[in-house]
Symmetry: C2
Subunit: 466 residues, 2 copies
C-alpha cells in the first residue's frame, strides 16, 4: 500500500533539452512564491467548501453504502450498462480499462457483470448493442448517470431503455433494471427517481462531471466489476497528502502544473499524454476532458478577453511510435510529452525462440514488458536528442491504489493550472450554445426563434459543396 507514483521531470529541463526548449530551474524557482500562494488559496477554497472534489477520498460511510448496494445487486446481473456521457462516462471507462482485464467482457468467468458504457447516441453503435442486450434484459441493470437528467444524449438513451424494458418485460419492476445516479435534491432525473421508485446514487453537489470519478459516479460500476474502491480512495488520500505541500519542488501536482504552464508561456501549446500501457489509455481520455474543459477558457485580462488553454492530446505507446512520433520529433517543437510508464506489469509474456532467424535472435527469451519499456526509453531518448521536452509519470504497478493517486494528482494539477492561467477551472460556459442549438433543432418548446436562426445560418449552400 505504500507504492507511490512519481513524476520525473529531468528531460523537460534546459539541462537536457537546451535553453530554448527546456524549463529552467531558475524559472521554476521564481514560481515558488506564486505556487505557495496558490496552495494557500486552494486550501482556503477547500476549507470554505468550494472544492468538494478534494474531499472525495474521505468518504468511508459512502463507500459502505456503495458496497451495500453492490452486494445487493451482485450476482443478479450479467450486464451492467452505464448510460452517460462526458464526465458521467469517461471515469467509468478509465477505471475499467485500468483495473480489469482487457478481455473482461469476453471472459467466461469474471468478478462481476459485463460492463458497457454507452457514451454516445450513434444509431448503429447503440442499435447494435441493444440487439445484443434485448435477449438478456432480465439479467441487465442500467445505471443512468446525469446530474440534471436534461442532457439530451443520456435522456434519449434513458427513454429508449425504459420503453424497451416496458415492452419486453411488462411484468418486471422498472426499479429492478434501472438505477440512477443524479443530484440528491433536484432536477429531471431526480423527479423520475421519485416517481418510479428507483434506487438512486448521488452526483455530489458542487462536483463537476469531470471531477466526479471518485464519487458514486465512478465508484458504483467499479465496485460492481470487482474493483477495490477502498484502495482507490486510499490512493487518492495518499496523493492528497503530497499535493498539499507548500513547497513546489515536493508537490507533484504543483510541479506538473508549473512545468506545463512554463511551457505554455513558451508557446508549447500541445500537451501530449502517452502511456506505455494499454491499461492506462483510457485514463488519458479522462485526462483529456479534465484538462481541455477546465482550462480552455476566455481569460479576462483587464477587460480584454484572451482565449487560453493548452490542447491535450492522447497517444499510445508503442503503437503511436508508428504514427505520431515522426511529427513529435521532426515537426514543430510545440509539444510537451508526458509519458506514463509502468515498472511492474501484473502479467508478462515471454518471446519465443527465433530459431534460425538470426535478425530476430536478440528478441528470443526476452519479455514483452522489457520490450515495451525499452520502446519507451528509446523513444524518449530520440525525442530528447531533438530537444523535445518530456515528462514521465512512473507507476510502480497498476493497482487501484496507484490509479487513485493518478486521478487525484491530475485533478489537483488542473486546479493549479487554472489558477496559473487565471481562469475559472470549474465551469464550461462555451458548451451551452451547442446544447441550446440541439434543443432547437430537435423542436423543443420555447426554442422556435433560435431554430429559425440556426436553420438560416446552417442551410447547405451548394456553391461550397465539392
Amino acid at each position: 500500500m505504500t507504492k507511490q507514483i512519481k513524476l520525473y521531470y529531468k528531460n523537460a529541463t534546459c539541462e537536457v533539452v537546451g535553453d530554448e526548449h527546456g524549463v529552467s530551474m531558475e524559472a521554476l524557482s521564481q514560481l515558488r512564491p506564486r505556487i505557495s500562494e496558490i496552495t494557500s488559496r486552494l486550501a482556503h477554497q477547500r476549507f470554505e467548501g468550494k472544492l468538494p472534489y478534494r474531499d472525495l477520498p474521505y468518504q468511508e460511510e459512502n463507500c459502505d453504502k456503495i458496497m451495500d448496494f453492490t452486494s445487493r445487486f451482485a450476482g443478479r446481473y450479467d450486464n451492467l450498462v452505464v448510460l452517460g456521457i462526458g464526465g458521467s462516462a469517461l471515469g467509468n471507462i478509465a477505471l475499467q480499462t485500468a483495473l480489469n482485464n482487457p478481455t473482461y467482457n469476453l471472459q467466461p468467468t469474471r468478478p462481476g457483470p459485463r460492463l458497457f458504457v454507452m457514451d454516445n447516441v450513434d444509431p448503429v453503435q447503440l442499435g447494435g448493442l441493444l440487439v445484443i442486450l434485448e435477449g438478456e434484459l432480465e439479467n441487465t441493470l442500467f445505471n443512468v448517470i446525469s446530474k440534471s437528467g436534461q442532457t439530451a444524449e443520456t435522456a434519449a438513451q434513458f427513454l429508449i431503455v425504459r420503453a424497451m424494458l416496458k415492452a419486453r418485460l411488462p411484468q418486471a419492476n422498472l426499479a429492478d433494471h434501472i438505477i440512477a445516479t443524479t443530484d440528491p435534491q433536484s432536477g429531471t432525473l431526480r423527479q423520475i427517481v421519485e416517481r418510479e421508485g428507483l434506487t438512486a446514487l448521488e452526483v455530489p453537489p458542487g462536483v463537476g462531471g469531470r471531477f466526479s470519478v471518485l464519487s458514486d459516479v465512478g465508484l458504483f460500476s467499479a465496485a460492481m466489476c470487482g474493483i477495490n474502491i477502498v484502495e482507490l480512495l486510499e490512493g487518492a488520500a495518499d496523493m492528497d497528502q503530497r499535493v498539499k505541500d507548500d513547497e513546489l519542488m515536493r508537490n507533484p501536482a504543483a510541479l506538473y502544473a508549473a512545468i506545463q504552464w512554463l511551457f505554455y508561456q513558451k508557446g508549447k501549446n500541445l500537451s501530449v499524454m502517452m502511456p506505455y500501457s494499454y491499461q492506462l489509455k483510457d485514463l488519458c481520455d479522462w485526462y483529456r476532458q479534465l484538462w481541455a474543459e477546465s482550462l480552455g477558457k476566455a481569460q479576462n485580462l483587464k477587460g480584454e478577453q484572451v482565449n487560453v488553454g493548452p490542447t491535450p492530446i492522447k497517444a499510445l505507446g508503442a503503437t503511436d511510435q508508428h504514427s505520431q512520433v515522426q511529427l513529435y520529433r521532426e515537426g514543430p517543437n510545440d509539444k510537451v510529452i508526458t509519458f506514463l510508464e509502468v515498472e511492474s506489469f501484473g502479467r508478462d509474456v515471454t518471446i519465443g525462440a527465433a530459431g534460425d532467424v538470426e535478425e530476430l535472435a536478440y528478441l528470443s527469451g526476452q519479455t514483452m514488458s522489457k520490450l515495451l519499456n525499452s520502446e519507451k526509453v528509446g523513444t524518449e531518448y530520440a525525442l530528447v536528442q531533438s530537444q523535445r521536452p518530456c515528462l514521465t509519470v512512473r507507476f510502480p504497478e497498476i493497482s487501484a491504489y496507484t490509479v487513485g493517486q493518478f486521478i487525484y494528482l491530475f485533478e489537483v494539477a488542473t486546479s493549479y493550472m487554472g489558477e496559473l492561467l487565471g481562469i475559472n477551472t470549474y465551469d464550461q460556459p462555451a458548451v451551452e450554445l451547442g446544447k441550446q442549438a440541439t434543443f432547437a433543432l430537435m423542436g423543443r418548446e420555447g426554442y422556435q426563434e433560435m431554430l429559425r436562426e440556426i436553420q438560416g445560418a446552417t442551410r447547405i449552400d451548394d456553391d461550397f459543396l465539392v
Copy 2:
C-alpha cells in the same frame, strides 16, 4: 454505386467566420496556378511509377487472388488475428469499424471470423488475448504484416505466436495457422515465408505503410470479414477521377489541402477530425497517422531547417462535445475542425415516450440519427458563432464504396499538402533513431556502443523525481 462523398467548406470561409479566422476566396483563387502545377507534378510522378499507391484502386487481378485466398480460408477459422503495427494495423481496424457491426466480435453469427488486431506489445493486453485464443488455436489464423519483418513489435508477436502454435498444436502445419503479408522479394519475413512454406500476400513495393490500406495489407482481413473489397476499390477509383481535376475548385483533395495549408499559414496548426459516427472513428485514427507521419517534417529552406506539420487530432461527436468543445470554442483559435457527417445511417433507433416527463417530451418518437445529426449542426453553429472555422465531409451513407472514396481522398490530399509544404511526404526519417535505440536496449548484436550511450543518457536521476 453513384453515391459520392462531398466536401463542404463554406463554414471555413471569411464570409462565415470573419477575415481574421477564415479562408478568403481570393487567397484560394491565388493558389489555383500553384495547385494546377502540383496536379501536373503528381500526374507525372504517377506516370513515372513513383506514386504506386495511386494505382491501387485498379487491381482487378489482385482482387481475384485475394478472393481466392478468402474462399480457401473462409469457414475454416473462427478467429483472424492481425499481427502488425502502424500502417499494418490502422487500415485493418478502420475498415472493420466502418463496415462491420460494432458488435461484430460478440455476435453469434457473422459473415466471417472474429477479427483481432494486435497492434501493440503490452504484456497485459497481449497476454489476455492469448489466454482467450489458446483454447481456440485450431480455429485461428494469424496474419503477420510487416514489409521487412524487422519491426520489433511485430517480430516479437510472431515469435510468441509461432512458439505457442508449436507447443499447443505440435502436429499442425504452421502454414495452416500463419500467413504473412510482406515484401514480395526480400526481407526477414520473406525468408521466413520461404523457409516455413507460408502463404504470402504482398506489401506492394514503393507503397509506404500509411498508404497501403487498399493493398493486400488492408484488403485480406476486410474480405475475410465479409467486406466488399471490389466496391471499396471502385469507390477509390471514383474518387481518383475527381482528384485528377486540374481545377482547384472542382478537386476535393486539392481543395482540402489548399484550405488546410492556408490555415496552417495563418497559425492554425491543429487539424481536428471529428466524425459524428462511431463507424468512422477509426478512419480518423488512420488519417491521424497519414497526416502526422507524412507531413511532420523538417523542411529544407535554402539550407536552413524549418520544422513543419499540422498536428492531427481525432475527436468523436457527440461524445467529445462533453469533453473538447469547451476548448475548441473558447480556447485559442488555433484549430480547423473537419466534421464527418452521415446523411443516412443503415440502422436507426426510435426514442421512447417521455410520458409525464415534460422536459423530455421533445425527444419522444424522434430518432437517434436525427439527434446525432442535430448535435453536429448545433455544435458547428456554436463554433462558427465563435469564429472557429469548420469543414465537413458528408457521407450520403457509410458503405464500402463511400469509405473507398474517403480513403483515396485523404491519401491524395496528403500528397497535395506535402507538395504545398515543400517536404517529402513519403519518408519517415525521424522514427529511425527510436527504433535503433530499442534494438540497443534489447541487446541486439552490433548496438553495444549505442546502448552504453543511451544508458548514460537515460539513467534516472533521483534529484528530478518527485
